[in-house]
Assembly symmetry: C2
Homo-oligomer: 499 residues x 2
Amino acid sequence: MSQTLEQFQAYQTRLEQYDQAIALLYWDLQTAAPKDSIEAKLSAVGYFSTESFRLSTADEYGSLLKKLSAPEEYDQLSPAMQLTIRRNLRDFERFKRIPEAFYTEYVTEKARSEKAWEAAKEASDFSVFAPHLDKVISMTKEYVHYMEPDQDVYEFLVGLFEDGMDTETIDRIFAELKEGLLPLLAKIEAAPKPALSALQQTFDPDAQKKVQELLLSYIGFSFDCGAVAESMHPFTTTLCPGDVRVTNHYYADNPISSIFSAIHEGGHAIFEQNVDKDFWHTAAAQINMMGLHESQSRFYENILGRNPHFWTPIYEKMSALLPEFKTVPFDTFIKAINDVHPSMIRTEADEVTYGLHIILRYEIEKAIFRDNVKTDDLPALWNQKMQELLGITPANDAEGILQDMHWSDGSFGYFPSYLLGSIYDGMYLEAIQKDLGDLDTVLENGRILDITHWLKEKIHRFGSMYNSKEVIQRVCGKEISAQPLLRYFEEKYSKVYEF
Amino acid sequence: MSQTLEQFQAYQTRLEQYDQAIALLYWDLQTAAPKDSIEAKLSAVGYFSTESFRLSTADEYGSLLKKLSAPEEYDQLSPAMQLTIRRNLRDFERFKRIPEAFYTEYVTEKARSEKAWEAAKEASDFSVFAPHLDKVISMTKEYVHYMEPDQDVYEFLVGLFEDGMDTETIDRIFAELKEGLLPLLAKIEAAPKPALSALQQTFDPDAQKKVQELLLSYIGFSFDCGAVAESMHPFTTTLCPGDVRVTNHYYADNPISSIFSAIHEGGHAIFEQNVDKDFWHTAAAQINMMGLHESQSRFYENILGRNPHFWTPIYEKMSALLPEFKTVPFDTFIKAINDVHPSMIRTEADEVTYGLHIILRYEIEKAIFRDNVKTDDLPALWNQKMQELLGITPANDAEGILQDMHWSDGSFGYFPSYLLGSIYDGMYLEAIQKDLGDLDTVLENGRILDITHWLKEKIHRFGSMYNSKEVIQRVCGKEISAQPLLRYFEEKYSKVYEF
């Protein structure tokens, strides 16, 4: 190993310690921290974040990155280390171009905006949030201009959350999907609705935790390199090498929520847990493609978890842990987890209408960044698109434009990744069935770990070595398309709703 | 505020961030961390510990401490800040006198010795541990010689764990206690034993957790500035201002273990939680008197928790959470929690014989540091003293000299603090009854929070502003003595065992 590489790795190790402390403090804030300690913990997060930012923009670091980019060093590096040098040098240079005063103000404004969004949502009043949103939009434009002056802002943002993706591709596949989803939804809406009253019971939250453990183990989550906890909203986080955690939230009147959150977050976690150990301490282990990430969680949650055959081998085991399920007929449970109907809140939407929620946000984000629609006009635009895509109109801002926090913290370009994930899933499904045979049969036989193994070999172990388009090409051998997802929907729901 | 004080406080804040990260990493390692992450977490602990040590021995820090020690600065400081300057300057100077190479080797040897102790205990073979113990003893002597060359080593060690305490006082009160305990134990041994078979059931660990919550709330633990988790061995830790946590371990066949661990750790935590907020960020909030600390946990556990009247107001509530208790007669439960009999393992000993275990260790520690008894002769000495004090002889090293880890990590001088805590408790009990009236009546009436309030006002809120002798003088208005504890034992157990 060259001396420069050695110095670089020592430097990276220091950075990793700060990142680990920050991740653990956040984890603790969201899972266990008592209220009187929040200030002290946020102060520590602030301290370590500043130290980390200082280290990763220091001239010493830049100089190491540049030395390792020179062919005589670069060519000796492993592919994962080459990726690390490329990505970190790119970020180093981008961040160096941002004036420090602007950056501080941007971070502060985003925090202010988040608070304003909370208050606005609470009061269901967009006007409380509007001036902050307006400022975050203009500052986000400025932020991107500093980093990549020559690039279209929205194009940059989309690529930030899904490396290698572009709006041309998204336009094409979202259009395909919209075209297919609208008539499908109309057919589903016309069909008779199932009776789901058997689920109106109290399901012990402690028992729901045990069901979660069963499900996580069943799909291949490893407790040797993972753990679980309770938080307000479910999430997945990697604290350090060998430690990928998921959280969940348990509602006594809605066990389906924690069941599918467990499977969804489990999917995220399995991806992270399965990254090749050789990639630890490199950029390949930091997965910066949210669509690719979401494709794993949504594959487990929807393609596998909402398939009736997934449940055949374990419905009885689940009922043993949570006896209320003994009074819920298997068929009712399957109907409930595949209940499709237009609704206001994205996070509670079924897998079919979910895509329409995302298309709505994608179209509005383009309107903001490309058509410069005025912030004050956004609620009307939102409601118009809800009517157009889902046939319903929000009664107020809280269930309309204020429902998501993403725009308050400047995460424009993030939303498309959810739907990209599902579109990739349609394609994986085709490829898996080619390799492993009919999915229903594999699931029916309790061979779900064969699927996890397939995903590991084809996708997980590479971490972020390949971008999503490359992954699709390698795994499916074809261009990205929404048709497989549409075919999956069509086949599945024509059976469920008998049309 | 002077500029120097401002600089000092900024410096202290940085140190606090490292300490917070280390405390949180340890907490996580003991409560949640999956096995594959242990290496990464220990590496982070090592990094932040080194950073913290470097900061707290840096010349810049020493210079600030010295400037603030000069009368023109010092006299302006609050008493808590004066304590901080005194204590931190003392530690700064002590640590500066230790050669770095020696320090590193000492830390390493203690870690090796801990591992050797684990292996020796597993194999029940003292000879595996002996060479390491020998080295830790000689290095501990050397360590103390560096820091305080003129002081008797064991005297220094005792003071390290109980500021202001000395072996002359301990010799006196331990002798008093030994003299009183041996005949008392003989009387108890001669009395008929109660039947406790009603406790031979399975007690759901999840329900034990709920009982723990009930008990913690009942005695005054605040969940606004505290939290709980599960770990292998129960412990209490302060993560940052406003965050004091306890852990517990739940055995399905022994609910009494988790009940009394909850009350014991609750006592430690309540002390930490009740320290005056004005002392946060000063040395007064870092309680470096283990005897004083133990006096709080043991007061809750033994003086309160093992009193029958403690249970009158809540036995039914506990039985509602853990229904197996409905089949355990109240009287049987009270007999079980006050069951006294000589046994091998200190951590499982009752409150009466516990003191004899500590006296044994104290006498052996003096033999090591003052009489230079050979390490190889220690097991025989141990067994001889067990026979003399408890009338039993260990069958092997694992249940004899190898049972505790304290000596493996160099914590000589720590053991006396457990018994000091109980001796202080006897004295508090006298003082409390003067102020609040008969303890049985206070407990019977469910007025336990009056006791917590009393302890807070008299002891907790001052943190470590006063050392233990000063606390006893302030609270009880007299010299430290073992007589009150002996009187408490005599009165209580003559009732329990009817002699």
